[in-house]
């Protein structure tokens, strides 16, 4: 079970602290932060505020494993902060008995286990006293973060938490019961805790009171047949939007060969339907789906027999399905929709005493692509949207002076990461980044870190999976149905050496 939950800000400050079974001293947070901050990229001004940067673009305290063993003093100290954390990192420090507590005289210590995840710059920490399924905790923490996003919008970052302290505590109260996960369905939660609204915020500013108002209505959804759907949903325009988003993870080497790639898709649904509609979604070519997982609302047996999705949707946004595309469906392989030619060179100046670097990145859209074009009307040129290049510089780079002919570039001195937002890209424009770097010392870096490129191509698909039809039964109205395909980059990286 979960003993305590902490949420730390990007600077290591404890934002949320909630104890479910006894009090865990705050020193565990200090211990964690000591470890984490060593390898932390100070992403202060850049990533937490700018939504344009996807949260996987920055490697953050990447040396801290998500599971740690920490030894704390056993005596429970309510004032916190006194229990000194003398931590032994799990496997490496073999010392200390494997037992839970090794009491000798007054120095009682015990081990607790710390699970940590990082979402939107916040560190979510969960402390457990002993053996537990690690994925239970990690999945739960991610679920909590998802619920925050659901409530406070994306990104659920430090400011969102700070604006909604009371709602956060209410949510934690409902999601965990005596340390065990309880209600984690956003729909069920919304029946109990009202999401913050503009009106509520305004009210709180005026009255100075708390802005989280507990819903007047008692939770009705908890005893319903479907825990994921609220009872008595009413929408005026009944509409449902289905996005088939396919992401490609790929490694492309210097010369443009794709070393490895992997296509995964997800079906995101935004459902605004009244009553209890029963939907049936059919695919045009379901055979491309290799392995999949479903939202609990999908009837698995129907999928197994007929390869259709039959479901009663939750209200609001949800991920209905995740799937991996069969390798055989991508027989012709994958050619990236753009090519990237990075050139990084180092010239020693001052007679070998100092070193200067030069960087030159050219990006061009490619005409030949293995994408399926889902927009039947428009043939030919594909517009690649939201192209952004992340350039991590070697640590020895002191400063970099970068110029671009398209979009804009941000350079973060602390983390030595440049972010080049190109925007839309088609065959006509040829964005180029040039720049110089000042190097500390006079040694060449062994490797140029690979570039990550994110992009999005609407109305196209990597696998060709598309919706054949969507029918509604159980309700009389005819909803508006919107379906679209999006192909986008997942972890898409170009190696430059």
């Amino acid at each position: 079970m979960i003993q305590s939950i902490f949420i730390l800000s990007p600077t290591g400050e404890v934002l949320i602290e909630r104890h479910f079974r006894g009090v865990t001293p705050r020193s565990v947070c200090e211990y964690f932060w000591e470890k984490a901050s060593v390898s932390l990229n100070h992403h202060g001004g850049l990533s937490t505020t700018s939504t344009a940067i996807p949260d996987n673009s920055l490697p953050l305290y990447d040396t801290v494993p998500p599971i740690m063993e920490i030894t704390i003093d056993d005596y429970v100290d309510d004032s916190t902060g006194h229990g000194t954390a003398e931590g032994g990192m799990g496997s490496s420090s073999g010392g200390g008995g494997a037992g839970n507590s090794n009491g000798n005289g007054n120095g009682m210590t015990k081990s607790v286990y710390l699970f940590s995840i990082l979402r939107d710059g916040l560190s979510y920490l969960a402390i457990t006293p002993g053996e537990i399924s690690p994925l239970l905790i990690l999945e739960f923490l991610h679920r909590v973060a998802d619920i925050f996003v659901e409530y406070f919008g994306s990104p659920a970052d430090e400011s969102a938490i700070k604006d909604n302290f009371s709602t956060v505590y209410q949510l934690l109260e409902e999601t965990l019961d005596n340390g065990w996960p309880l209600t984690t369905e956003p729909n069920a939660l919304q029946a109990m805790i009202r999401p913050p609204t503009v009106m509520g915020k305004l009210q709180s500013v005026v009255t100075g009171g708390s802005n989280a108002i507990v819903s007047d209505a008692l939770p009705s959804g908890t005893i319903s047949n479907m825990p994921w759907r609220r009872a008595g949903v009413k929408h005026h325009p009944n509409e449902i939007y289905i996005d088939i988003i396919e992401e490609i993870d790929a490694i492309v080497d210097m010369v443009g060969n794709v070393i490895s790639f992997d296509v995964g898709g997800s079906i995101q649904v935004q459902s605004n339907l009244s009553g209890v509609p029963d939907l049936l979604l059919t695919f045009k070519d379901p055979s491309v789906i290799d392995d999949c997982s479903f939202h609990p609302c999908v009837r698995y047996s129907r999928y197994e027999t007929d390869q259709v999705l039959s479901f009663v949707p939750p209200d609001g946004n949800f991920t209905m399905m995740r799937y991996r595309v069969k390798p055989s469906a991508l027989q012709m392989g994958f050619s990236p929709p753009m090519s990237c030619i990075p050139q990084i060179s180092y010239i020693s100046t001052d007679g070998g005493l100092s070193l200067n670097g030069k960087i030159d990145i050219k990006i061009t859209a490619r005409t030949i692509s293995t994408l399926f074009n889902m927009a039947s009307t428009k043939k030919g040129s594909v517009i690649i949207e939201d192209v952004a290049v992340t350039i991590p510089f070697p640590k020895i780079v002191k400063t970099a002076n970068l110029n671009v002919n398209m979009g804009y570039v941000l350079y973060d001195e602390a983390s030595k990461v440049a972010k080049w937002m190109i925007g839309n890209l088609d065959e006509k424009n040829r964005p180029q980044l040039t720049g110089t770097m000042k190097i500390e010392g006079n040694e060449k870096p062994e490797q140029n870190p690979p570039l990550s490129i994110s992009w999005k191509i609407p109305l196209s698909s990597l696998s060709g999976l598309s919706v054949g039809g969507l029918s509604v039964t159980g309700e009389t109205y005819r909803p508006y149905k919107g379906v679209r395909n999006i192909a986008k980059s997942g972890r898409f990286q170009f190696r430059c050496s």
Binding site: I67, E131, S133, L136, I223, I259, S260, F294, E443, P449
Partner: protein, 997 residues
């Protein structure tokens, strides 16, 4: 594939129940629970690879195919495995990992299942990075056992730029285990080229080690292929080429890298690869090395050794004798020096080269230097720096010295060697001293020390003289290749001390006291009693609790059948069951239901009657009726026992039973107020309808039958909201549940001859099961116009095909004069119904108003399936809609006296069987029993649904003429005749099975 079909049967339940995170927890603990559980005997070697030293008892050595093997599993075990498979599709990674763990430790080692597990694991591995970490760790423990499950996903394990360090190393481990084909080796080596330039030096070192591992794997893989194709020479050539390429890469890396850790690792691996290349040749031709990579490597090693030795020599001078720390960073001159730990392998390979068969190698560019000169220089440096070396290097130095001593060398060299040995003999470390003394003695007793002889104890000379050749064969022989690969099960030991996927396995140490290791397989089946629901003792205080449970069971339509499922599936084990009831008196729950009711010993009868609510003689009689029925159903081959005997055993057990049940027995029939008291207790504990509890008492018999469902209902109570779709059950289930007695009899509405094989029957629910079902469906059971009926779909197709997509579509009823349906709650569509299977579902109907008119409430449906559409009419008869009401005899008489004339209708002396009269009346109506008399007079009471005016029924049996007089009283004259006729038809209905006495 039979598997897939079987899966479907349990799919829905399983799938919907994975809703919350807790279920993952449940799943995780299942393996241990199950393996202690009830499945010993049939579980032979279910896993080819049981890892924990708890070898499964191998009963039969049979080499069955996978499916045979699965077939031979215990029923429960197989059910568990099959029903857990759909959970692999869960979106919760924890659930998926739990299922994998279950199948790994308790499952059958079949290729299909393995690959399904692998696929699912790879899918959840593409999740957030923290989850990735856990999943990768689990994959690492699995991959040694079943690499085939993961080989298709080799490229998914390539390290990406954004991978955090904690996953990078795990990925390397996985990659190394997956290189089982030349293509894979090639691809991974290609990748490693990128990895060795990574910024993270630890990762680089691990990558270098992997290079060494791969060059060894390549040999094994190619040897295997060579054996297969018969082209062994070519294949070993290929393997050598890979090894040489690796070596060349490492030489280059050791030249360009400026990190001593990396160079040290290179030296380590180079030494191993060279050894590998040398060792395998043996008598064969020297491996083809056109580019003289081995020479280059050797030269590089030699250079590094010399530099390190000179470096260690010089450093203390510079830094004023900080002698115990001879680790030197990169020299100011940029000369790469080996770290302390890495000197020894370099020394060793140099020593091998100097003394043994690597002699054939020639140093191209150092030709000016003779080998002897090099040897001399190396020895000189060793002697000079010996005291500064670390332990392992000292050992190697001693070893090198003794090896040189056995070869033909210059006198100067020999002197230095003996000096080194003598240094070793007086070293501070025990290990070095031991080795030096051992090797000194070896030398002394074979060729004798030339310069240093007096240092050794003289006894050594006397003991035994070794020949030089013997000594040489000890020291200078061909060494076997050191292997990187885990020996036997080293890989398992490393990762598999703990069950994978647990917190302890992530930390490699026991996390808290809560870790439960995997228990060994049970030697024998655990008694079936473990699977039977727990019977609760009933002290008077627990009584109320019991009854409250009773009302709450029957919530789920299927639960009772589930018990039944297990029971009936044990068709072969009737003796087993009776023995189990002997062994534990608490397990007798099934016994009353089991096939041999008369075989029950006293104790089981007693305990079942403990929880009986009403044990009046009258009820006992009824029970006899029911029991004999069961006898007929189950045991046609046994002659029916005389009823009297059963009766007597029943009554005697009643006499023996505890005081609580005797209290009860007096309560019911005699004094209705006490009955009310009981139901009041019930009502106060849980919020049940007063009427329903009354009804239950009226149908007293049910308590006997339904106690057995307690534990199941507790279990399913937790899942009740999650079960949406009806469960498909085996045909041979005889459902005996709460619903069974709280409902009318089945009415066939669709005959299978007309519908292409689909038979549909319905029956109306009453009392607490109606309430519960209505509540579940969100209808208000207090409203009389709410009707629930259970619908039964049965596949009776002659061709044995499944019927797909069975669903119920409501239709508008356009007839006038009827009450339309206001709301209907329909069951989920049934995707497929296999041959001979039955599916139950409950349909809720809310009519716009209640009606006292017979046949006024009328709903129309279409039953649609892939075989066509059949319209059905659902029209609850008036007798069905009558609600029971409690009444004392006096009240009954008063009310009956008021309702005379037009309000009374009588049917006199018609022929009827009056055994089980109560049962028969309850088949058509749920009226409450006022008097279920031994005197032959039965009185029932109820109210009409709409007007709430009372309906009274009195039946007088005349046993001499075998006829009955029936009186129906009701305020509503219109209702009288339909009621009377339905009661009459119920009583007049002779059924063969009731008639055997």
């Amino acid at each position: 594939m039979p598997m897939a079909k079987q899966k479907r049967r349990v799919v829905r339940k399983g799938f919907y129940s994975d809703e919350e995170d807790e279920s993952s927890e449940e799943e995780i603990f299942v393996p241990s629970a199950m393996s202690t559980g009830a499945m010993g005997t049939q579980k032979r070697d279910v896993m080819g690879f049981h890892t924990h030293g708890n070898e499964p008892p191998k009963r039969k050595p049979g080499n069955l195919s996978v499916f045979d093997e699965e077939e031979s599993l215990h029923e429960d075990h197989r059910l568990l495995l099959r029903s857990s498979l759909p959970l692999l599709k869960s979106r919760n990674a924890g659930v998926v990992l739990g299922v994998c763990s279950l199948h790994y430790y308790c499952g059958v080692a079949s290729i299909q299942i393995r690959s399904a597990l692998g696929k699912a694991l790879v899918r959840i591995y593409h999740d957030r990075r923290e989850i990735q970490f856990v999943v990768l760790n689990s994959i690492r423990s699995l991959v040694w056992e079943c690499p085939s499950a993961f080989t298709p996903f080799l490229r998914d394990f390539f390290v990406k730029a954004m991978d955090p360090s904690f996953t990078r190393l795990v990925k390397l481990d996985i990659l190394s285990a997956l290189c089982l084909e030349p293509d894979a080796i090639h691809a991974v080596l290609q990748e490693l080229r990128t990895y060795i330039r990574h910024q993270d030096k630890e990762f680089v070192c691990a990558s270098i080690r992997l290079v060494g591992k791969l060059s060894e794997m390549a040999r094994i893989v190619h040897d295997r292929i060579g054996k297969k194709t018969g082209n062994a020479v070519y294949e070993s050539h290929q393997a050598n080429k890979i090894a040489l390429n690796c070596l060349s890469g490492l030489v280059t890396l050791s030249e360009v890298s400026d990190n001593e850790e990396v160079v040290g690792e290179c030296v380590n691996v180079m030494h191993r690869i060279m050894l590998l290349l040398q060792s395998q040749e043996g008598g064969k031709s020297v491996c083809d090395d056109p580019n003289h990579i081995q020479e280059k490597a050797l030269r590089r090693l030699l250079l590094l050794v010399l530099r390190s030795l000179t470096g260690t020599l010089e450093e203390p001078k510079d830094t004023e004798a900080n002698t115990d720390d001879i680790t030197n960073g990169s020299d100011s001159a940029g000369v790469m020096v080996l770290t302390t730990g890495k000197v020894s392998p370099a020394l060793w390979i140099v020593g091998e080269w100097l003394t043994t068969n690597i002699k054939s190698l020639k140093l191209l560019k150092l030709e000016t230097l003779k080998k002897a000169d090099i040897q001399n220089e190396v020895l000189r440096l060793i002697a000079k720096t010996f005291t500064l070396m670390d332990k392992s290097a000292k050992c190697q130095a001693v070893h090198l010295a003794s090896k040189v001593l056995l070869t033909e060398s210059s006198n100067e060299d020999l002197a230095i060697c003996e000096f080194i040995l003598s240094l070793g003999r007086i070293d501070v470390t025990h290990d070095v001293r031991d080795r030096a003394r051992f090797e000194s003695l070896l030398i002394a007793s074979s060729r004798g020390m030339r310069y240093d002889s007096e240092a050794l104890p003289t006894a050594a000379h006397d003991i035994h003289k070794l020949s030089i050749n013997e000594a040489k064969s000890m020291l200078l022989n061909q060494k076997p290749t050191a292997s990187w690969l885990p020996i036997e099960s080293e890989g398992q030991k490393q990762f598999n001390i703990f069950r994978f996927g647990t917190l302890s396995s992530m930390l490699s140490r026991k996390a808290g006291a809560a870790y439960i290791p995997l228990p060994s397989w049970a030697e024998s089946d655990s008694p079936t009693a473990l699977r039977d629901p727990v019977k609760h003792d009933s002290p008077p205080s627990a009584k109320a609790k019991d009854s409250s449970r009773k009302t709450s069971n029957g919530w789920i339509v299927d639960e009772s059948k589930k018990t039944e499922f297990y029971d009936s599936s044990d068709s072969s084990s009737s003796s087993d069951e009776s023995s189990s009831s002997d062994s534990s008196s608490t397990s007798s729950a099934t016994s009353s239901k089991s096939s041999t009711p008369w075989a029950n010993d006293e104790s089981s009868e007693q305990s079942s009657s403990d929880t009986d609510e009403s044990t009046s003689s009258d009820d006992a009689k009824k029970r006899v009726g029911r029991h004999t029925k069961i006898v007929n159903v189950h045991r046609h081959h046994v002659d029916a026992m005389p009823v009297d005997e059963i009766d007597s055993s029943e009554t005697s057990s009643n006499d023996d039973s505890s005081s609580s049940s005797e209290d009860e027995s007096s309560e019911d029939t005699a004094s209705p107020p006490t009955g009310n008291g009981v139901s009041n207790i019930t009502a106060s504990l849980i919020d049940v309808n007063y009427d329903s509890s009354k009804t239950r008492i009226t149908h007293g018999i049910q308590g006997d039958d339904f106690n057995k469902d307690y534990s199941l209902s507790n279990l399913t109570d937790g899942l009740e909201g999650l079960v949406m779709a009806p469960l498909v059950l085996d045909k041979n289930d005889k459902s005996k549940g709460n619903i069974e007695s709280e409902s009318s009899k089945w009415t066939n509405v669709v005959r299978h001859e007309l519908s292409g094989g689909l038979e549909v029957s319905i029956r109306f629910l009453r009392g607490s099961s109606r309430q519960n079902e209505a509540k579940l469906m969100g209808l208000n059971p207090q409203i009389a116009s709410v009707n629930c009926f259970q619908i039964k779909f049965e596949n009776k197709r002659s061709d044995g095909c499944p019927i797909r997509r069975i669903r119920l579509i409501p239709k508008k009823n356009l007839k006038t004069g009827i009450v339309p349906v206001a709301k209907s709650i329909l069951p989920m569509e049934i995707a497929a119904l296999d041959k001979g299977k039955i599916s139950y579902a409950v349909v809720g109907l809310e009519f716009s108003q209640a009606s006292d008119k017979d046949g006024a409430m009328w709903a129309k449906f279409d039953v649609k399936s892939d075989r066509g559409t059949i319209p059905i009419d659902v029209c609850p008869p008036l007798a069905e809609t009558i609600e029971p009401i409690a009444m004392s005899q006096q009240e009954f008489d008063i009310a009956a006296n008021k309702l005379q004339g037009i309000h009374q209708q009588t049917m006199v002396s018609f022929k009827a069987s009056f055994d089980n009269l109560l049962d028969k009346v309850s088949e058509v109506s749920s009226m409450a029993v006022v008097e279920g008399g031994p005197s032959g007079i039965f009185k029932f009471s109820g109210v009409l649904p709409e007007s709430r005016s009372p309906v009274l029924l009195s039946v007088k049996c005349d046993s001499s003429t075998e006829s009955v007089d029936m009186h129906v009283y009701c305020d509503n004259a219109m209702a009288l005749s339909p009621l009377l006729s339905s009661f009459k038809s119920a009583l007049g209905n002779y059924r063969g099975e009731d008639n055997e006495d």
